[in-house]
Subunit: 250 residues, 2 copies
C-alpha cells in the first residue's frame, strides 16, 4: 500500500462543491469515480478541505491510499484523460504514510477576484465577481492590516458555523490592483465556513466607504456575524495553494 | 427609424456559432430574442461576419434598425441584464444609415491562443488550445512574414469554401510569447472559411519543425488545401476587433 498526494485544479462553476453528495455533480465523486476505474480498486480521497458550490481551486491537494502498481508520478497524467475538462489533475507523487491532506496542512491561500469594468469581461466572468464600483484601496489595505494576526473570527464566518473554536491566524491579507479590477489574497492557518467570502464582502464595504477601516477591530471583538459585510458570491473565490511542512511535502 | 451599432463579446463554447439555425443555441438567436423583447418590435441583426461553433469574440460588431425611443447608448446597458452570461453587450451607439456591420468593415483582427503547460490550465481551457509542445518562435515568425501581403489563400481555407475570389490581404501576423503559452494574432482585410484556424495550424507545424518556413510561399502558390497544416480546433480562436473607417465609426 502506498499513499499518493494529488494536486488538482478545478473550475467550480458547474459543481455542487467538493464533497460527495447523492445525486449531485461534485469534485470528490468525479475524482473517486475516475481513480476507482484507473486503480481497479475502490479509492476514497481526502481533500485539504471542502470548497463550496461554485468555488474554484488552482491548487487543491488530496490524498488517497492504493495498492495499484501504477507509478505515482504517472497517475496525474493518465487521470487527465479520464476526468471531465473542468477538473485537471496537475501532478501526483508518493508521500510518507503519515501525510494527511487536511491534517498536515499548515496554511492555505485563497484569492477573491473582482471585475470592475462597466460591462463584465465575458472570458473571466466565471472566475471574477462583477462589481463595477470605484473603491478606496488605501482604506481596504488599512482594514486588511487589522485582520492579520490571531483573532476569534466569529463575526466573519457563517452564522451556521458548527465549529466551537473560531480562533484562526491570518498571516497575510493583500489587496492587489489589477487591470480592470482587483483581487484580495489571504493566507491563513485555516478558514471557517464562508470566512473568505465574508472577509472579501467586508473589505469591499470598506473600499466603498460603507464601513470605516478602523471599525474592523470592533467588528472582530463583537463576535457577531451581523456586524460584518455581506457574504460575497462563490464565483470570485479560488483556493490558490495549500502549504505543508517540507518533510510532509517530501 | 435609427441604426444602432452594437459591440458584443461572447464565450462561444456553448453556442452552435453566430448564425441563427433552427433548434440550435446561437448568438444571433439570443441577441434577436432579447432585442425583440426590449424594443417591442421584431429586430433583425447583421453581424460583421459569422463565427463558427465554439469560436469566441471579444469585439464582434452588429447593427440593427429600430424605431424604439430607447436612447441608443442605454441599449447595451439594459441588454446586459437580459442576455445569458456568456454574451455581454459592451456598448451601443447610433450610426449613420449607410453603416453596415459587414460591408463597412475594413479589417478584422483574430487571435489564436495556445496553452503549452504540461497539465492544461483549467481557468483558460475554454479559450486556449492545449498543445504542450516546444515550438521555434523564430521559424514561426519567419513563416508569418511570408503570409503578410495580398495573396490567393485557397491553400489556407476549407476545401468547402464556396467563395470564388480567395484573394485577401493580411496586414499583420504576429506570434506573441506569453506566460505558459503563446498567441498568433492576425489582422486582415477579410478571412475565408476556417482560414485563421488553418493559418494557426500551419504556423504551429512550422514551429514544430514539420514544415519549413520557406515552404509557405510554395504552399500559397499551390492553391491546394492539402498542402497546408491542420485546421485547429475552434476553442483557441477569438475575434478581437473589427475596424471601420472613422466616419462610419462616428
Amino acid at each position: 500500500m502506498k499513499k499518493i498526494k494529488l494536486h488538482i485544479s478545478y473550475d467550480g462553476t458547474d459543481f455542487s462543491g467538493f464533497q460527495r453528495q447523492p445525486g449531485q455533480r461534485t469534485i470528490q465523486a468525479e475524482l473517486e469515480n475516475a481513480l476507482t476505474a484507473l486503480m481497479r480498486e475502490k479509492i476514497e480521497i481526502h481533500g485539504s478541505g471542502r470548497t463550496d458550490a461554485g468555488v474554484h481551486a488552482q491548487g487543491q491537494i488530496c490524498h488517497f491510499v492504493t495498492s495499484s502498481p501504477i507509478p505515482a508520478e504517472k497517475i496525474a497524467y493518465i487521470l487527465r484523460n479520464m476526468l471531465p475538462r473542468d477538473i485537471v489533475a496537475v501532478s501526483s507523487e508518493e508521500v510518507p504514510s503519515d501525510f494527511h491532506a487536511r491534517k498536515s496542512a499548515h496554511w492555505k491561500t485563497y484569492r477573491y477576484q473582482i471585475d470592475t469594468r462597466c460591462a463584465p469581461d465575458v472570458f473571466s466572468r466565471r472566475y471574477r465577481t462583477h462589481l463595477p464600483y470605484a473603491v478606496d484601496f488605501q482604506a481596504m489595505r488599512e482594514a486588511a492590516g487589522y485582520l492579520v494576526g490571531t483573532h476569534d473570527f466569529t463575526s466573519l464566518c457563517s452564522a451556521k458555523t458548527q465549529v466551537e473554536d473560531r480562533v484562526r491566524t491570518i498571516y497575510r491579507c493583500e489587496v492587489i490592483e489589477e487591470e480592470h479590477g482587483y483581487a484580495i489574497e489571504v493566507t491563513g492557518s485555516g478558514f471557517l465556513y464562508n470566512m473568505v467570502r465574508i472577509l472579501a464582502g467586508t473589505l469591499v464595504e470598506v473600499g466603498r466607504k460603507h464601513i470605516d477601516p478602523k471599525a474592523i477591530s470592533v467588528i472582530l471583538a463583537a463576535r457577531d456575524r451581523t456586524k460584518a459585510g455581506p457574504t460575497f458570491p462563490p464565483e470570485g473565490l479560488v483556493l490558490m495553494e495549500v502549504g505543508y511542512t517540507p518533510w510532509n511535502n517530501m
